[in-house]
């Protein structure tokens, strides 16, 4: 399996990570090694083996639908890199 540079670029775009061109060959090599490690899974016989998504066989628990959270708007907004009038600021999206 070849983890080529185009695959790295496409995956980095999906993950919203801006990899500089200079780093792509090294990242391709590392991902190739990691995918080489996991490649052995394909050879394991798993016909009729159920998937395991989670360790505990629990149903989704429900609790009474009552408000338990306090209003933390100000403390939450205090961590924003840029905010104005209680809103998160981002670059203009629509011209």
């Amino acid at each position: 399996m070849a983890f080529d540079q185009d695959t790295v670029r496409r995956t980095a775009h999906l993950a919203r990570i801006a990899l500089p061109q200079t780093e792509i060959p090294a990242v391709a090599d590392q991902l190739e090694r990691i995918m080489g490690l996991v490649e052995e899974l394909r050879a394991i016989e798993t016909t009729d083996v159920p998937i395991m998504a989670h360790p505990l066989d629990l149903d989704q628990p429900l609790r009474p639908d009552t408000v338990v959270n306090q209003d933390q708007r100000e403390v939450l907004m205090a961590s924003a890199p840029a905010a104005e009038h209680g809103l998160f600021l981002v670059p203009k999206v629509i011209e």
């Binding site: 999906l14 993950a15 996991v38 394991i44 395991m52 998504a53 989670h54 360790p55 924003a80």
Partner: protein, 490 residues
């Protein structure tokens, strides 16, 4: 023996007898942190004034007649647990300035008992690493040999406990992150059954594998901490209704008749011969105390690392999507548009290992690859769990090495990510199954590096693991050895 070497039982006795106050004890340890942390880099943040205030409050509670087992005892949290008003970095530039608006359930519960937090402990970035070298705040150093890694990802917790900077600490374990550093630093640490300890306020890496737990200098101290940490939490939908238990109750049970299984797969190629011999001697001690030892098979264990490196990155790529540079994280300066804001902030905010795992996770979940990798790995995860089910029909505890080698030099495994991943070859299957496991110190190599023996139990057999480790520690002295750490020369 000096104050910084006391067990929790001894500290409580001293506080009860008024031999020392919590403020005096806290002051001693803060001084020790200030002298030794420059050499170890175990703490990312030290909360000196908050600690002294909390200690004074604990002393006042004691004066008013309270006598809880953890009242006035200093500790520190892995910097993955959110602490209201104190920054929580997760070892990442992404969260370098993040101050959580709330406490993790684990923090809340230990604070309510009157424990005194001295600060936040260094860790691999987002808990992704086995050597503590991926931290944005620099590597932690092993107190037994400062040229060696402490293990990871809870390396700051393990180093701080081993060096006597705190008697106990919290850690988290997704693929071995409590047990592997505990082994490499010569302390005791337990990854509880999945669902025992609330994940609320514990920054998520791989949600179906992550579990918090105590790290301490002996099994009894782990039990004391776990008694408070383990509890059902309605704020965590994966918290088990029967999470709470009294882990001290069965601690003294003799090992006579205990059925111990030793998996052949844990003593194969790749295991350091000194580690093998040291762990075999530990197993012989269990037999001497009356345990019946037999060989067992875990045939799918050799697939655990590859299964994990599909599932954990897949879950991580989803969990870490929230770090977008908009609401509370690092933001790149002057982005041209919103996409560049996301992409550049994530490139700058995440280190190389975290980026790699996000890319692997994104890839295995992307169209056309999901069945080949993600679904396949979920099926192999079932096979790994079945191995344990079969084994626990025959034995009570599975015992083997925690790690294939003792602590390795800083930088030794940085060139090849796969070489680093194999440091967790004996710990990962436990997380995939969700069962509990513990690492207990069982000796030293000729070079003076600690070796850990791993005990694995069936679901909710955490109390049995602590019992076996405690009985082992009644007859051995390995957990009483302390490294001599020296302040760095100016």
């Amino acid at each position: 023996m000096e104050l910084h070497e006391f067990s929790l039982r001894e500290l409580r006795q001293g506080l009860r007898n008024r031999d020392f106050s919590s403020v005096e004890l806290t002051t001693v340890l803060l001084k020790r942190i200030s002298a030794l942390n420059p050499a170890l880099n175990a703490f990312v943040t030290v909360t000196e004034s908050d600690a002294l205030a909390a200690a004074a409050t604990a002393d006042a509670r004691r004066a008013a007649g309270e006598d809880g087992p953890l009242l006035g005892i200093p500790m520190a949290h892995k910097d993955i647990f959110c602490t209201a008003g104190v920054r929580t970095t997760c070892g990442s530039r992404m969260l370098e300035h993040f101050v959580a608006p709330y406490n993790a359930t684990v923090v809340e519960r230990l604070t309510a008992e009157g424990m005194v937090m001295l600060g936040k402990l260094n860790m691999d970035e987002f808990a992704m690493g086995s050597s503590n070298e991926t931290s944005y705040f620099g590597p932690v150093r092993n107190p037994w040999h400062t040229g060696m890694v402490p293990g990871g990802s809870s390396g700051g917790s393990a180093a701080a406990v081993a060096a006597g900077l705190v008697p106990v600490a919290t850690g988290t374990d997704t693929g071995g992150s409590i047990r592997q550093p505990a082994a490499l630093c010569g302390i005791t640490g337990i990854k509880p059954t999945y669902g025992r300890v609330s994940r609320y306020g514990m920054i998520a890496f791989a949600s179906s594998l992550d579990q918090g737990g105590p790290m301490a200098r002996n099994a009894e101290d782990c039990a004391l901490l776990l008694n408070v940490m383990a509890a059902h939490d309605p704020r965590d939908s994966t918290s088990h209704p029967a999470a709470a238990s009294d882990f001290l109750r069965g601690l003294e049970r003799p090992l006579q008749g205990l059925r111990v299984g030793v998996p052949e797969e844990f003593f194969g190629v790749g295991l350091d011969p000194e580690v093998a011999a040291t762990v075999q001697a530990g197993i012989a001690e269990l037999a001497r105390q009356g345990a019946a030892v037999q060989s067992i098979r875990l045939p799918n264990n050799p697939h655990a690392v590859s299964t994990y490196y599909v599932l954990a990155p897949a879950e991580a790529s989803s969990n870490l999507a929230r770090f977008d540079g908009v609401r509370y994280t690092h933001r790149a300066p002057n982005p041209a548009d919103l996409t560049e804001l996301y992409q550049q902030s994530r490139y700058e905010g995440f280190g190389a290992e975290v980026r790699r795992r996000i890319l692997v996770g994104t890839y295995v979940l992307s169209a056309g690859y999901y069945d080949a990798y993600y679904r396949k790995a979920q099926q192999v995860r079932s096979l790994i769990r079945e191995d344990f089910r079969r084994a626990f029909a025959e034995v009570d505890v599975i015992v083997g090495p925690t790690t294939p080698t003792p602590a390795f030099p800083l930088g030794a495994k940085n060139a090849d990510p796969v070489a680093m991943y194999l440091a967790d070859i004996y710990t990962i299957a436990v997380n995939l199954a969700g069962i509990p496991a513990l690492s207990v110190p069982c000796g030293f190599t000729a070079a003076g590096l600690p070796v850990g023996m791993q005990l694995m139990g069936d679901y909710f057999a955490d109390d049995l693991l602590l019992n076996v480790a405690h009985r082992y520690q009644q007859e051995t002295q390995w957990h009483r050895a302390h490294p001599s750490v020296h302040a760095r020369e100016a």
